[in-house]
């Protein structure tokens, strides 16, 4: 080939270093999509990412823009502090299911209630990855984890929490959607959804959240491809995909 045109290359919003994620882990795709959208919107110099505690704990080491590592579950409160001081910046949190939907439920709900102009990128893989495969608030019924060894049972551990459905009832939440990454078409949709969420924020409309159903091959004990299929076949029926709330003007 004499002359070539780049079709895809690493976004400059990602620092050039290897990641700690397991083979086939969807965190990597989610990180990349966030970074790509920041770059495409021209916001690299105007972004503050707020990480979390969980497998996403090193997000600030991977993103090539300003970053904060908060305590477990408090990212929406920390992001609120940043955004109130710097209302014209893009401020987003990157949180897993334990961080957001267990220990951080209060902060998430009230950021939405206040219509805080931040974005939450929520990685739902139904399990605590960092601490070694314990039950999450989104663990499916019957799913075996290290703390639900016989499978999640309602009598003992209740039911999986549906974050999007809950937040969509709140007036302050402007954009709420659930996407997945189990095939290329879903990845394209997921990226569009993150872009809509960031645009919702930058237009000052209100709170936005994108839930990303993600594969955790290691803690599910599945190959990367099997794990992607598991998302499609087992997670999607419990956590239906789609946009739950879209503000006028961002559609």
């Amino acid at each position: 080939m004499a002359e070539t045109v780049k079709v895809y290359s690493r976004p400059k919003t990602l620092i050039d270093k290897p990641w700690h994620f397991c083979p086939g882990c969807h965190h990597g795709i989610a990180h990349r999509l966030c970074a790509e959208v920041v770059e495409e919107m021209g916001l690299q110099e105007m972004t503050v990412g707020v990480g979390s505690v969980g497998c996403g704990v090193f997000s600030y080491e991977y993103f090539n823009f300003d970053g904060i590592g908060p305590s477990h579950g408090r990212a929406p409160a920390v992001a609120t502090g940043v955004k109130r001081v710097l209302p014209d910046r893009l401020v987003f949190t990157y949180q897993g299911d334990g961080d957001l939907a267990a220990i951080g439920t209060t902060e998430m709900v009230h950021a939405a209630v206040r219509g805080e102009k931040i974005t939450i990128v929520f990685i739902n893989n139904t399990v605590y990855g960092m601490t070694g495969g314990q039950m999450a608030p989104t663990t499916l019924m019957g799913q075996v984890t290290t703390t639900s060894p016989l499978g999640r049972e309602a009598k003992q551990a209740g039911y999986p929490i549906r974050v999007c459905e809950m937040l969509a009832t709140m007036e302050g939440a402007a954009y709420v959607s659930r996407v997945a990454l189990f095939n290329p078409a879903q990845v394209v949709k997921a990226k569009k959804s993150i872009r809509k969420a960031f645009e919702t924020q930058m237009q000052g409309v209100g709170f936005s959240l994108v839930e990303i159903l993600s594969a955790c091959p290691t803690n599910w004990g599945l190959s990367p491809l099997e794990a992607a299929k598991y998302v499609e076949n087992n997670l999607v029926p419990v956590f239906p995909l789609g946009e739950f709330k879209v503000p006028e003007g961002v559609k």
Partner: protein, 353 residues
């Protein structure tokens, strides 16, 4: 408000106004008696002053909003009372570790548990010895008048920014609620440069604020760095006041509201011919131990008075190091009267006579 104008202010309001004059434009808090007027005052005044006030969903969230605002480079404050301060401890540990400047006001109430709403000084250990997890220190300022609540709040922001560390303004419910005439400072504080703040890169490389240091030697290095700073604070920021200490045979040690009662008691004792003196620490951490030892030079007994079961008394005993007997008198839920302290002084002077 002009600088010469006299006002009658409640302690809690005074802290709110002092914060604004000290350059603070961001406040995050949650209502709790006897502190709520700080929120109420700033809810009115901050929008006028061009800042942001957010009533958080809990003290846990409030302190994390403070973390975010401080990371973004703002002068920021929160206020609460004992149980609420307990809830903030995790966040305070993170702020200390991340080396962010912030001001935390504790208008103490009765404890433990839900306790009561009456004045207390029982959070001394929590504020001066830690409170949250890990090796860190908070600068703790103990005002005793409404005017000092103003002056110390302004000073708290300066110290916080000078050392990039959280500073506590430590007062009790009575000081939060009582009213005294004050003169508000007419100052134009210059916020320090914060090249480390996460404000969006805007031409530089990424700024990262975090508290995770996985390799043991890196964590040790981080702790050593924190302690170099704390040693510097110990060398430079100790403050105390003394009354009639030169020849005092009975040295009373008290801070905050109690120091005022104690001063009245010491004056009464002097009128009765008893050589009593008062040592009043203004910084509870770093503790003014050297000044205390000097003040106790001629003392035959030291009497520590607190609205607690006895907390600061441990720091006094550490400083005095057995040179003189250290006695304690404490009340719970109420500030002792000058007569109670005077009785104790009289009793002690009889013992050594």
């Amino acid at each position: 408000m002009s600088n010469t104008e006299l006002l009658l202010m409640k302690g809690n309001e005074a802290i709110g106004e002092a914060a604004i004059r000290g350059g603070c434009r961001y406040f995050f808090g949650y209502p709790i008696t006897p502190q709520s007027e700080v929120l109420e005052y700033l809810a009115r005044r901050l929008p006028e002053a061009g800042g942001a006030y957010v009533q958080a969903e809990s003290e846990v969230s409030a302190i994390n909003m403070v973390f975010g605002a401080a990371a973004a480079g703002a002068r920021v404050m929160t206020a609460s009372s004992s149980p609420g301060i307990s809830l903030m401890q995790e966040g305070i540990s993170y702020i200390a570790s991340a080396q962010l400047p912030a001001v935390i006001v504790n208008i103490m109430r009765g404890s433990p548990g839900l306790g009561g709403i009456q004045p207390s000084q029982a959070d001394y250990f929590q504020s001066t010895k830690g409170g949250g997890h890990g090796d860190y220190r908070l600068v703790v300022l103990a005002p005793s008048t409404v005017q000092e609540m103003i002056d110390h709040t302004v000073m708290a922001f300066e110290i916080a920014e000078k050392y990039c560390t959280p500073v506590v303004v430590f007062a009790d419910g009575m000081m939060g609620q009582m009213m005294e005439p004050v003169i508000l400072p007419d100052i134009e504080p210059v916020p320090s440069e914060k090249p480390w703040a996460t404000t969006g890169m805007q031409g530089r490389g990424p700024n990262i604020i975090h508290t995770l240091h996985l390799p043991p030697d890196q964590l040790e290095w981080h702790n050593n760095r924190l302690f170099e700073k704390y040693h510097q604070i110990e060398a430079q920021e100790k403050r105390s006041l003394e009354y009639f200490t030169d020849d005092a045979e009975i040295l009373v040690v008290a801070y905050g509201i109690v120091s005022r009662v104690a001063r009245a008691a010491v004056e009464k004792a002097r009128e009765a011919g008893v050589k009593a003196g008062l040592f009043r620490p203004v910084t509870l951490w770093p503790y003014p131990s050297e000044a205390l030892v000097k003040a106790a030079g001629k003392a035959r007994k030291v009497l520590v008075v607190e609205v607690s079961m006895g907390q600061m008394v441990e720091d006094v005993r550490l400083a005095i190091n057995g040179r003189v007997p250290v006695e304690f008198y404490g009340r719970i839920g109420q500030v002792p009267t000058p007569e109670e302290i005077l009785n104790k002084i009289t009793q002690l002077i009889a013992e050594v006579a």
